[in-house]
Amino acid sequence: MDSIAEIKNLNKTFKNPAITAIKDLTISLPKGKVIGLIGPDGAGKTTLIRLLLGLLVPDSGYISVLGMNPVNQTNLLHQKIGYMPQKFGLYEDLSIQENMNLYADLKELSENQKKEQFEWLLKFTDLKPFTSRLAGNLSGGMKQKLGLGCTLLGKPQFLLLDEPGVGVDPISRRELMKMVYSLRNQGITVLWSTSYLDEAEKFDNVILLNNGKLIFNGQPEELTQKLEGRVFQTSHFLESPRSYLRAIMKNENRLIDATISGQNVRIVSKDKKLNPKLSADFYPVKPRFEDAVIDILGGAPMQFSPIAEQVNIKDVPDIVIKADNLTKIYGTFTAAKNISFDIKRGEIFGLLGPNGAGKSTTFKMLCGLAKPSSGKGYILNTDMIKNPSLARAHLGYMAQKFSLFSTLSVMQNLKFFSGIYGLQGNKKQQRIDQMVKIFELSPYLKQAAGNLPLGFKQRLALACATMHNPPILFLDEPTSGVDPLTRREFWNHINSMVEKGVTVMVTTHFMDEAEYCDRIALIYQGQAINVGTPDKLKKSGETMEDAFIRLIEEYNKRSK
């Protein structure tokens, strides 16, 4: 097969902070395919793209793109390729037309070419009615299309898209994928990087990176096939999937992964043979790409978290969190409109929805960080508006990007958070020691929190948030950008706390994580358009993402 790029023994390190971004990488990218570049944050995806573009110079090794050396023949190469950086590389204070004009001029298209390509691109991206709108006022999906449009000017042979799906709702993401495939059919090769493993199955080819190393290169089915016959799901709804999960984690040693999926439990076995005791309960299901990745990475941690032993919840009412017609209006923009739900004791409640749909606003109103324009919020029967500080004392809050003090050491962070939660003296020291033990932080105590590996940052953030033994946990995108093993470990902690009666409200972008929730509120355009159990939202045979898209499309139809 013809290749569009060849990479041999490529190495790239950064000095400050010292990171090995790419380690001895050898791959060949096939021509005329849509290639997924997949891996958690920090895997080396962006570095690899920048090396291919000649924006970075390798430490050692060989790269050739379209037969050119990106370092010496940068300008020549740039004429043949299109690149869409993260955040799309658009000028937000320029209109769609002005952005396109600028990039057309920078690529020195002739007037005729300009006219012809503009017409084609505006049609291709459906942006024709909006050409005078400023790029900053476009939705995530439209920005993404415009970014792609500008990249396509000059008819490149090779497109490199760096995380085009971030911050974009699943419908737009699917549309973009469709557009990319129509480009492939015109002979363009596309490299698409993403940290979502569930996107992998859609690509012709997949390059999977972890810590700068190549884990897999080939067709996604090749990898998934290996797991055929090794993935099972419970055949009937379980009363308590979480305690069932704990039981099999404890008793089974032939499993490499076990997760909750609505009211079922899904397991991945080391081989095709299943413990006869289990085979009555389970039936085989189709493996997913993520199962295969977990398999390659050596399996998920299979013991339940010791954190549960420390949890002690008393005097908690049945309804722990109550949102009553919460509405937030910023100027003329309604960020949240009449959002209502009850969250019961010991429940995991998920807020799902595209960026900007109103998830974070709802979240902030319920933990007293934003004052609702109307409506009420209660935490343990305490009015969030009248008495925010009292209500907040019952909360553990883990913010997006973990919000640790990055220049303080791990120990200093622990001390600080235990201090602000009012712990003192012996009790404080005891609690810190427990956290260090549970989350295995002792090798890192003196290291600055900002330099920790992402997984440890997440552990530390969870330790800080649960320091005061709160009956309620608020988790705002706690696992975004984290590799699947670390995510499993994180959910282990959460599940064991929930079993002891802790109530959790969580926002997430991961569809499989949505299925760990007892109930989900689907937030779209500021409204909770559906609330229910994952199994109720899904129709039979649907994945969570299918359900998500269907519900939004139904809503769009209704509101038209």
Binding site: L56, K87, Y103, C150
Partner: protein, 369 residues
Amino acid sequence: MRILKALIYKEFLQIIRDPSSVLTALILPFILITIFATAINLDNNTIETGLVIEGDRGQINDIIASFDGTKYVKIYRYDNRKSAQQALVRGDIRALVVIPNNFAQAFAAKTNAAVQIITDASDPNIALFAAAYVQGIISTAQKIILENYGYNTNVGIRIESQSWYNPELKSRYFILPSSIAIIMTLIGILLTALVIAREWERGTMESLLTTKASKLQIISAKYIAYYCLAIISAAFCTFLSIVIFDVPFRGSYLIYFITASLFLFPSLGMGFIISTLTKNQFLSAVAAAMFGFLPAIMLSGGLFEISSMPSAIRSLTNIIPATYFIPIIKNLFMAGNIWPIIIQEGLSLLIYGIIMFVFLHFVTKERLE
């Protein structure tokens, strides 16, 4: 050429659509010029004044009475000249009025009766006002004496004014032109410090680097666009000074335009360099204030005399572009076209600007490292 034109057009669109750049270029100068122009108006302040009366008192009581009758001057009495002068040196008083031994005799004899005023001119504004107040009060006293005693003392009292520490008294006319130079520094550095960092933060720089645009074109487009904005801002400041605050302008406007342009060259460059090195809007705004604006206020010689600084600091003033422009602009306003200064300082600005441009070209990378 076409790429350059497209980039310049883009910069202009961004300037027009970004309210903060218009705010920085027009509203901020307006506020600053007004502050600089009115800050020297001390009408409401009390000036501590020492008074020494040597010899007998006679009609002097009337003069003292008129001092006490004003809220602008607070009188401190001293027994002798020496202790009063020490108080002036310590800064307890800002001005000193000495009525000498022979005053009463000279006054009675209707010969030259002298009153001496000594002001602390290290702060020229206060000194100027102190002297003016004291003179005004003495005139009032003369009027009172004339009315009450029938003496016309106009002929008799001669005021000898003496300024300490800064014999050539500066007026507000000197301060406004310097402040134009300082404001231009602010505009030049602050506006530009943000723009390259913004391109990095928003990821657009990465897109630009993968097009045909060269770094020379990217830099030049920014220079040209922000030069236009800053020169409009400078013209606006000049207009305010001349028309609203009545500062005379005695030089040639053409020379002013050329030298102002030469001055903007290194200032803009400094802002772009800060922006390129930090790649972060917040950091570069702080850096622009620390390395651009504050030194221009304190060390350029606009507000504080360079010649009165310690020699180590004096040599530091050489690295501030405004240091070269302030002599030119002061002379253009106050004196006219003083060619030796214009040529010498103008040449320094040109060389400085070229160094900055070359340095910027050097630190701007076509790759991400």
